[in-house]
């Protein structure tokens, strides 16, 4: 009988201690965000969407078509083709298959001219897998409008 009373008392104390924590959390600061209605600001270094910023001085891509990002990509999701000779060498194709991309950031790291950067954008889901192949126009559109340091840019709206 006495053992039972001790155990009942322990249960009451344990329950009280636990519920105290619960009530403290109940009146404390809210930790959740009503997501689709409220947006979250991700960190500037966020590995989000890849983008090709356009050089504001020349008005053309910063890419020098060295194929380093294509080579370093572990998932081989970057496809580059170029036409023209010498100074007229131009990007004709720069496709990134974002469905294959593992967001490792190695392409951003090896790029010698900071021509490929991460944009802190996180709403990239779509109903069709074909929409995840981003071509040159998409990647330019995703790019921030101002020159940026590598991977460090302010939060932007949807591209």
């Amino acid at each position: 009988m006495e053992a039972l009373a001790t155990r009942a008392w322990q249960a009451v104390v344990g329950l009280y201690a636990g519920l105290r924590v619960t009530f403290r959390a109940l009146v404390g600061r809210k930790n959740t965000v009503m997501y689709p209605l409220e947006k979250v600001n991700v960190a500037p270094r966020w590995h989000g969407l890849l983008a090709l910023p356009v050089d504001p001085e020349t008005g053309s891509d910063k890419c020098i078509i060295c194929f380093q990002c294509e080579r370093v990509c572990p998932d081989r999701c970057i496809h580059i083709e170029a036409g023209g000779k010498g100074k007229d060498r131009l990007l004709t194709r720069f496709d990134i298959e974002m469905d294959k991309c593992c967001y490792c950031g190695l392409c951003v790291e090896v790029c010698p001219t900071e021509a490929i950067v991460f944009v802190p954008h996180y709403e990239t889901s779509t109903y069709n897998r074909a929409n995840l192949v981003y071509d040159l126009a998409d990647l330019r559109r995703a790019a921030p409008k101002e020159p940026i340091a590598r991977g460090v840019i302010a939060m932007r709206g949807r591209p």
Binding site: A11, V13, G14, V21, A43, R45, W46, C104, G105, L106
Partner: protein, 359 residues
């Protein structure tokens, strides 16, 4: 005979347990693994050393991406004789301990759910979310960081990051007390874990248990202390050891480890030296012919990577000694003689991650 899994919510992944029963008593447990096999070791042979860093993140233990990177890169740096600058060593130590906190929080939360204490999960994930935010600010990734590089780390810390980490550390110590209030004082929780699933010291050693599981059985061994890597040799921390070997001891070891991790982070930030964050090596590093074994203490235990290089930029062979794998095989010893209801409590207390078991 009872089949548990492979799609059972409390197996924390895809694990099948073939439980032989006598009434309600467990006679034998045979874990059937391989459902999450991703052949990381073979894939590594076809990727460069730099690309493999991205692979270790997701192919191995997905909750402790940085600990995997550390184990792999330690082997790479030993083969290549790459000297890591002091600042990078401290940065890695801070990141590894934050990773240990986040991993233990997932374990505590999910184990709480397994045992019916659903609220703990919410509190643990609240703190984990803050750690992931800190990771996001520093590395750009929340789970898969690809932050460590051969010879250092990728980027230096953003402004004010260390202050945010210190503020979090102060708050977190109080949170650990909160978890103790929720669980340690709860008689229902104690009844389910205290004295349950005892793994004696000699069996723990014989089955190759490592990490918190071994330390809960009285094996006083921690790779961070026995073979210091990165900055651990210069920092003071205690290694919690308990003699009981039951689920409650494994719980207490991890709770105490969280406190020690906070201590390590605080010391490492106080001592954080200035200077280079990356050794002067090629980005796409090429290694000479050679082989090395690197041993690290991942949150789950003793993570070893054996790397053989034949020269060039790809490894010839990588062998990963996964801590979850050896701990999973100590499971049979723990479960024998207990009741069906204890299976989940014991399995949760081992803290396995199936992608680490199968690799």
């Amino acid at each position: 005979m009872l089949n548990m899994g492979p799609q059972h919510p409390s197996t924390h992944g895809v694990l099948r347990l073939v439980v032989t029963l006598d009434g309600e008593n467990i006679v034998d447990v045979v874990p059937d693994i391989g459902y999450l096999h991703s052949s990381v070791e073979k894939m590594m042979e076809y990727r460069t050393y730099l690309q493999n860093v991205a692979l270790t993140d997701r192919g191995m233990d997905y909750l402790t991406a940085l600990a995997n990177e550390e184990g792999y890169l330690l082997a790479v740096e030993r083969v290549g004789r790459i000297e890591v600058p002091p600042r990078a060593r401290y940065l890695r130590t801070i990141m590894l301990e934050l990773q240990r906190l986040s991993s233990h929080l997932v374990w505590l939360g999910t184990w709480g759910i397994d045992l019916g204490a659903t609220t703990v999960f919410l509190y643990c994930f609240r703190e984990r979310e803050r750690i992931l935010d800190l990771f996001e600010q520093a590395t750009g990734g929340r789970l898969h960081h690809v932050y460590f590089r051969p010879g250092g780390v990728y980027e230096d810390l953003p402004d004010g990051w260390t202050d945010r980490v210190l503020a979090f550390c102060d708050e977190f110590v109080a949170r650990v007390d909160e978890y103790h209030e929720l669980l340690t004082g709860n008689p229902i929780f104690l009844a389910r874990v205290q004295g349950v699933g005892v793994l004696p010291r000699d069996r723990a050693i014989a089955m190759g248990a490592c990490g918190p599981v071994a330390r809960a059985s009285g094996v006083d061994f921690d790779v961070r202390r026995a073979f210091p890597y990165e900055a651990y040799g210069e920092l003071a921390f205690d290694v919690p050891v308990f003699q009981e070997g039951d689920c409650f001891a494994r719980y207490r070891v991890r709770m105490e480890e969280m406190r020690q991790s906070v201590r390590i982070i605080q010391q490492a930030i106080a001592k954080l030296p200035a200077g280079e964050i990356r050794a002067k090596v090629q980005v796409n590093v090429k290694l000479p012919r050679g082989e090395a074994y690197a041993r690290t203490e991942s949150p789950r235990g003793d993570l070893g990577v054996y790397l053989v290089s034949e020269g060039g930029d790809m490894p010839y062979r990588v062998k990963i000694r996964a801590p979850s794998f050896s701990n999973l095989y100590a499971l049979t010893e723990m479960m024998r003689g207990w009741k069906v209801a204890d299976v989940i409590a014991i399995l949760g207390s081992v803290d396995i991650v199936l992608s680490d078991v199968d690799r």
